[in-house]
């Protein structure tokens, strides 16, 4: 009889435990989504652009200089 009671108790633990774990994780998922959308709204630039713009600019500048140099060289060559 005691065994049967214990099993019932264990089943109750299971319901409570899984319930709390799921509730916890579900709230967490919702909060994470809310957080992600808030951050995307109020701090939109930070993530992709902070690393990329400086890199992009330097590449662009280099590229421009290179193009300028090539044009200059080509025009020098044609003048001759």
């Amino acid at each position: 009889m005691a065994d049967v009671n214990n099993v019932v108790e264990a089943l109750k633990f299971m319901v409570l435990g899984m319930g709390v774990v799921y509730l916890f994780l579900y709230i967490l998922v919702v909060l994470v989504k809310v957080q992600a959308s808030l951050i995307a709204k109020y701090f939109p630039e930070n993530i992709p652009k902070i690393p990329t713009p400086p890199v992009g600019q330097t590449i662009d500048e280099d590229e421009n200089r290179r193009v300028a140099a090539i044009i200059a060289a080509v025009s020098e060559f044609r003048k001759k």
Binding site: F13, L25, N46
Partner: protein
């Protein structure tokens, strides 16, 4: 010249006298304290054969062969808890345990099963089974380690701190719903709780054992200390050996529950995650656990601290220490301390068998529940979800994620699931800490 010599010799004599008087004083106090031992200390002349035979009495060979030598168990709580060993524990049991230890060495070195855990544990087990040395006792090395951080739950928290500092929540933040898979795997804990009670364990012990299903060594130690301290050794050993055996236990279950097509599913690449999201996340988890379940905050608090230290980006020195030096030191101590419970008198009992079996069931059930949950999510989700990643919901970080990735790439070469599996994996750590908190709150 002579005067100087005399002076120096006098000085030496004085020093010798004072130290001798100290020694005699010291001996007096000890002889008062333990009269019996002081009477034994008086040396009587012995013949060579007597000397040889008394030496024979102290050899390990004799201690292993002689089953009635009155040896006692070693207990880190002190000699009051020590009892005399029976014939099995003092001879054959030790030999069996030493063979088991060698098997663990083999698994760790030749098969590469989590050597970082298995070698310290197995070596601790080897030391704990040495006769007469009493290493697991209150003043033995293993006993000291045990009292230092296992008996008071300190080491598990430090490990959690280090794991927190090593964990990247990026994959979880990029695809938050995979966190629910980490929850499903906790079914292993509660399902095996029912099983353990059916076998005949009482509710508290059953709860402590079933935490093994979370595949989380630190949490298991933490809970076992609170709910069933007498089973701590077997529970810790079971939890860590199953963590080490993740690559053996999980793949058959994963393959049995999924079709080849499902295993081949390719998941979308994860979006990049904002640094602020990562920074806020540990605080978010901690606040949530403070509100819902303060019982779990020792574990989650340590975890969140480690992760926050990492993500803050300004205390790299500290987070580096947590991820490397600190967690390594603690792993050595934790392993050896857990290994001390591999002593024959503690390990070779019927309960251990029960614990190992329930632990295995718990672990398998957790894996299965995760995979099944992932299959269900795959059916209802618009993005494809490879069901394999559900197996990573057990919190053995990062082994189970690696196993998932390996099984996934076996089914479809080039399909890398590692980052996708990390989401449920780290959610599993949080989930098992929450489950632990629920169990603690029940027995409060």
């Amino acid at each position: 010249m002579k005067i100087k010599q005399i002076f120096i010799s006098l000085l030496f004599a004085m020093v010798a006298m004072t130290s001798m008087s100290y020694a005699t004083e010291h001996q007096d106090t000890t002889s008062v304290a333990t009269e019996e031992s002081s009477t034994k200390r008086v040396y009587e002349p012995k013949s060579l054969s007597e000397l040889a035979s008394s030496f024979w009495q102290t050899t390990g060979i004799n201690a292993l062969l002689d089953t009635h030598d009155g040896e006692t168990t070693a207990d880190p709580r002190g000699s009051a808890y020590e009892t005399e060993l029976n014939w099995f524990q003092s001879s054959l049991g030790r030999i069996i345990m030493i063979l088991i230890v060698f098997l663990l060495f083999y698994l760790a070195i030749a098969k590469g099963f989590e050597p970082l855990l298995l070698i310290p544990i197995a070596f601790g087990g080897l030391l704990a089974n040495i006769p007469l040395a009493n290493m697991g006792g209150e003043h033995g090395m293993l006993g000291i380690i045990y009292n230092m951080g296992i008996a008071n739950e300190f080491f598990p928290l430090l490990i959690f701190m280090g794991v927190g500092a090593m964990t990247d929540f990026g994959p979880l933040l990029a695809n938050p719903k995979t966190a629910l898979l980490g929850g499903a795997a906790q079914f292993g804990i509660f399902g095996s709780l029912v099983g353990a009670v059916m076998i005949g364990f009482d509710l508290q012990s059953a709860s402590a054992i079933s935490i093994i299903g979370g595949a989380d060594g630190p949490t298991s130690i933490f809970i076992a200390n609170r709910l069933a301290p007498e089973m701590l050794g077997a529970i810790a050993v079971a939890a860590y050996s199953y963590m080490a055996l993740v690559p053996v236990i999980q793949p058959p279950i994963m393959k049995a529950l999924t079709t080849k097509e499902e295993r081949r599913i390719v998941m979308k690449t994860l979006r990049p995650v904002h640094r602020l999201e990562k920074l806020i996340f540990p605080i978010l988890v901690l606040v949530l656990s403070i509100l819902v379940l303060p019982e779990s905050t020792p574990l989650i608090g340590a975890f969140a601290f480690g992760n926050f230290a990492k993500e803050s980006g300004v205390i790299d020195r500290l987070s580096d220490t947590m991820q490397n030096a600190l967690i390594n030191v603690v792993t050595i101590f934790l392993g050896m301390g857990v290994g001390s419970k591999l002593a024959a008198d503690k390990f070779l009992v019927l309960e251990t068998m029960g614990i190992m079996i329930i632990g295995l069931l718990a672990f398998s059930a957790g894996t299965a529940a995760g995979v099944i949950m992932a299959k269900i999510m795959n059916k209802f989700s618009d993005e494809p979800i490879n069901p394999l990643i559900g197996a990573a919901g057990v919190s053995a970080v990062p082994m189970s994620a690696r196993v998932v990735s390996k099984v996934g790439s076996e089914a479809k070469p080039g399909n890398i699931l590692l980052m996708h599996a990390m989401g449920p994996n780290v959610a599993g750590v949080i989930g098992s800490a929450v489950a632990a908190g629920v169990l603690l709150s029940i027995f409060k």
